[in-house]
Subunit: 298 residues, 2 copies
């Protein structure tokens, strides 16, 4: 009755998920709630409440937190969460350690996804891999020489903000021409609205392409072309073995990945193409939950 459990918390500006896992990474239970506005206390109290409910009184073996914003994994502090004023310098690791009596690991969500894909998903067995979220925005996580690479300010992997078109589309970050301004969910929705073909979101686009609509397929090919520019740059810089793509790539599969692979091949020198694999996230649309699990210190 008292098998050990790991608690995983996926903490975003829109929703917060709390899950329990077996120590080898099988997800057991899941709760989710809309992130509460205001100071962090309300959300922290709700996380603790749901965690205790799922654990039925047991202490967890370890706790992992995947946070949707900049944070300091060494100190266990969330620096901020986009669109969530009031979250500033929140010592979440300490708070959860006090509440549950277990060690806590925290990591930003793109890094946590990279770690999860490396340990449990499409990155297993690779030493050098790049993970890109393809969601509302484009974040990145780098596994280099077999472990997460965080950078000097824990900001490494912002590959969505490399400029692929100088002076191009305005990006939410304030710059122009970022990869994120061409191949994220937000950018795709804007492109679709300009094309005025009666498709509003990346999800609808994928559904229409899957049903054979040639215009939808062409739109996916256009997105693949921009995405390939960013990926080829990453390959020249990092020479990874695998590129693993989340959310939109998981939904679209080869409708996006087939033209993407062609285009990346066209941009790369032959030596860089050897063994290079571009894959959808192996943990699929549940990657966010597993990302939190994967950063629990065990």
């Amino acid at each position: 009755v008292s098998d050990p459990r790991v608690l995983g918390i996926d903490l975003g500006g829109t929703k917060i998920a709390v899950c329990t896992f077996t120590p080898d990474g099988r997800r057991l239970d899941r709760r989710q709630f809309q992130t509460l506005r205001g100071p962090p206390e309300g959300n922290l109290a709700r996380i603790v409440e749901l965690g205790r409910e799922l654990l039925a009184g047991m202490a967890p073996l370890a706790i992992g937190v995947s946070g949707g914003g900049p944070l300091d994994p060494r100190r266990g502090v969330i620096i901020s969460i986009p669109n969530l004023p009031g979250w500033e310098e929140v010592p979440i690791a300490e708070r959860l350690r006090d509440a549950f009596g277990a060690p806590v690991g925290i990591e930003n969500d793109a890094n946590a996804c990279a770690i999860a894909e490396h340990r449990l998903g499409a990155g297993r067995g690779s030493k050098d891999m790049v993970f890109l979220t393809l969601s509302t925005g484009i974040g990145g996580g780098l596994i280099l020489d077999g472990k997460i690479y965080r950078g000097h300010r824990f900001l490494a992997g912002e590959a969505g903000h490399q400029v692929i078109v100088p002076g191009g589309n305005p990006c939410g970050c304030g710059n122009r021409g970022c990869l994120e301004a061409y191949a994220s969910g937000t950018a795709i929705a804007r492109m679709l609205s300009e094309r005025n073909e009666g498709i509003a979101t990346a999800k609808e686009l994928v559904d229409r392409a899957r049903s054979g609509d040639p215009r939808a397929r062409r739109s996916l090919e256009d997105i693949a072309r921009f995405l390939a520019m960013g990926i080829a740059n990453l390959v020249y810089i990092l020479d990874p073995e695998r590129i693993i793509l989340g959310t939109i790539a998981v939904a679209a599969g080869d409708l996006l990945l087939a033209p993407l692979r062609c285009e990346v091949d066209r941009l790369l020198w032959p030596a860089f193409r050897r063994d290079l694999k571009i894959l959808p996230a192996g943990l699929g649309l549940e990657l966010g939950d597993y990302a939190a699990f994967a950063v629990a210190p065990m």
Copy 2:
């Protein structure tokens, strides 16, 4: 009379330098010769001859080879040297080990320069740094989490071939719009020839700018603008503490680096700018010699 010596060999398609060093990295002697065309044997014999002469019969403590082309540092094999047909799969580590009876380390020149700058130059004390050669071409070497990052195929760091202007200037690599096609010595010479201001080379440009010529200064600012685009992309991806630049940046100093730093700052989010230093190579124009020393296994 028999203080231990380290042998450093800087092996390029144009010239080959052979130097001796004290184990703590003081350069003692230097010989250089024009790379001989044809199969590798002639060059290898000359390297051994000059090395023996410099060592005066002593066995070296260790040997470092910095090679101007793709190579396999694990096997100690040079895969090729650009513009030097006949050099294919040359087991140089084995050949030198047999000739001198000492352990041999080999590394491509951009990586070797990064290692040398990290150990002895402007990178000392940093954990995450990017080195860029700014020479005929633009190569890169990445020190991440305190050690050289080579990538899956030992090709990491080709930051000169990220595309900064899609469809832009043709690059020697066959692609268009690479950073190298805008900010390398070759690209600068082409730009100068188009501007027809009576300046032919990057070196002349720097001399003219130093003497106050406003057009030469403007040309350096234009180069800085392109270089900044490539560097900002690298910072978003790798979040390094330092960016260290060779050759042309060493010659130009703040005439290039001052506008470069301004422009990089303009392109980066404030969080990435904290502590970021953009510096000329601390080992200056002798970096190539020290690069060979720095990869000797000790």
